[in-house]
């Protein structure tokens, strides 16, 4: 294996079901991260930090105490921008910039080195926020997330902005969901539990897996599918199966990776995303940041099964260790 400096991390998002149901507190989750031999964490401010962004001093004290106790490095904070929060109007650009500057302030106090910025951002907002980001030494990383890829128009516009601005504090978080080569079996099973005809569910999976999504709607109708079936199938349209090698021209801007997964099988692989084909490309491209395990399979099974984010992350980290050549 080629020499690399890629490190492992976990997004606390992976444990959202346990947190949502009150089965685990933030501290419980951080303790589990240490037990799973994960050295670094990523947190969604609005998911697990009460009162975000008006966070109490006592929270920050606790947070740093926990990071020390469980020997964890804070890597990334994930932000959101919801332009619809005001009645009768969208947020102005000034308000959106102010919101990002507030995120930078919080990330600094959390001790992370970067913020995951959502797709609802604009190049202008990034340009207006970048000098504050530089002073705070917090980089702003826009997430590349399905159905977009690095080659999509908005992402290409961002590349041009990054080139022009030339700041190391602007870049991308790459979500590995853009390499979904096989539709999740858990997704198909969920559709069936919702009452979809199994033939239609299998047809949707086949369309996705064979890259024949252009035949999807017509085929569902031909099989007697309803509007509900067509609506459910939209989920498959949000996925993409991009070629991992297409990231190579952009490695300079890829500063963080959301190692997305939904279903770690008993064989120790994700059912949908071919990590064995992706990690070697990241190594070849010289990626030197964190792979942050991001489990998102709970939503598809929670109606019928107990979601176990801890076990899913444990399996995923073992796979990462193996593919990164850690003993």
């Amino acid at each position: 294996m080629a020499i690399h400096t890629i490190k492992r991390c976990v997004s606390l998002y992976s444990f959202q079901e346990e947190y949502f149901l009150g089965k685990m507190t933030l501290e419980d989750i951080l303790a589990i991260c240490q037990q799973l031999d994960i050295p670094a964490v990523e947190i969604l401010g609005e998911q697990m930090i009460p009162g975000y962004p008006a966070i109490s001093d006592s929270f920050f004290e606790q947070w740093h105490g926990w990071l020390d106790r469980y020997e964890l490095t804070p890597v990334c904070m994930d932000q959101f921008l919801y332009p619809q929060i005001y009645k009768g109007r969208l947020m102005t650009e000034n308000e959106m910039v102010a919101s990002v500057l507030e995120d930078i302030r919080v990330a600094k106090r959390l001790g992370t080195k970067m913020i995951r910025i959502q797709h609802s951002i604009t190049s202008r907002i990034l340009e207006r926020a970048v000098s504050t980001a530089e002073k705070a030494e917090i980089s702003l990383e826009v997430e590349i997330h399905a159905p977009s890829t690095l080659e999509s128009p908005f992402e290409q516009q961002l590349v041009r902005t990054f080139e022009r601005v030339g700041s190391p504090y602007l870049g991308f978080v790459l979500d590995l969901g853009i390499f979904t080569s096989r539709l999740g079996k858990i997704m198909e099973e969920r559709w069936r539990r919702m009452g979809m005809n199994p033939t239609i569910a299998a047809f949707i999976a086949a369309c996705y897996n064979n890259s024949e999504m252009d035949k999807l709607d017509e085929g569902i109708r031909a099989l007697g599918g309803t509007q509900d079936d067509l609506d459910a199938a939209v989920l498959a349209k949000y996925l993409v199966n991009s070629n991992p090698r297409h990231i190579l021209p952009y490695m300079k801007y890829i500063h963080h990776v959301h190692a997305k997964f939904s279903d770690m099988t008993d064989e120790g692989c994700d059912y949908s995303i071919p990590y064995d084909k992706i990690i070697p490309v990241l190594i070849e491209g010289g990626f030197s940041g964190y792979l942050s395990s991001e489990y998102e399979g709970g939503w598809y099974i929670q109606d019928a099964f107990v979601v176990d984010g801890v076990e899913q992350v444990r399996r995923h980290q073992l796979m990462l260790k193996s593919l990164l050549g850690e003993s």
Binding site: Y19, F20, E46, Q47, Y82, Q84, K87, R190, Q302
Partner: protein, 130 residues
């Protein structure tokens, strides 16, 4: 379809007594989304109880000890409904619900723009008034 099945919290389902009179009924509600949201992003709720549509004007939300008219949440872009937190929906109905089983059908969305029209969850539970 995220968190739909956890929206209605049955443990909180009961008639509401005030000054010795039953003035309505209540149930617990979680928001079907993966992070906290400010109240202004909570859409109008579509509630059916035993098949009857309940107007939102008859509902309040009690969250973290404070009570809000359910149809005025759009005006509050500051207060946060924390992720996983259980709010109480109270419905004004003199006499409340009769003892026995009732069918509660909730469709509640958030005005989040990943999908046009926002995202919503739908949960139906049969609950018992003792």
């Amino acid at each position: 379809m995220l968190y739909d099945c956890y929206m209605i919290v049955g443990e909180q389902f009961k008639n509401i007594l005030k000054d010795g009179k039953v003035i309505g009924y209540q149930f617990g509600l979680r928001i079907p989304y993966f992070s906290s949201v400010v109240l202004s992003l909570i859409s109008p709720m579509e509630l059916k109880v035993d098949g009857e549509i309940i107007p939102e004007e008859q509902m309040t939300l009690t969250l973290d000890g404070k009570t809000y008219p359910k149809n005025q949440l759009r005006d509050d872009p500051i207060t946060r409904w924390e992720f996983g937190r259980i709010g109480i929906i109270s419905v004004l109905k003199p006499g409340g619900l009769t003892p026995g089983e009732h069918n509660i059908d909730v469709r509640q969305g958030v005005m989040i723009g990943f999908q046009s029209g926002g995202m919503y969850g739908h949960d139906i539970k049969t609950l018992t008034v003792k």
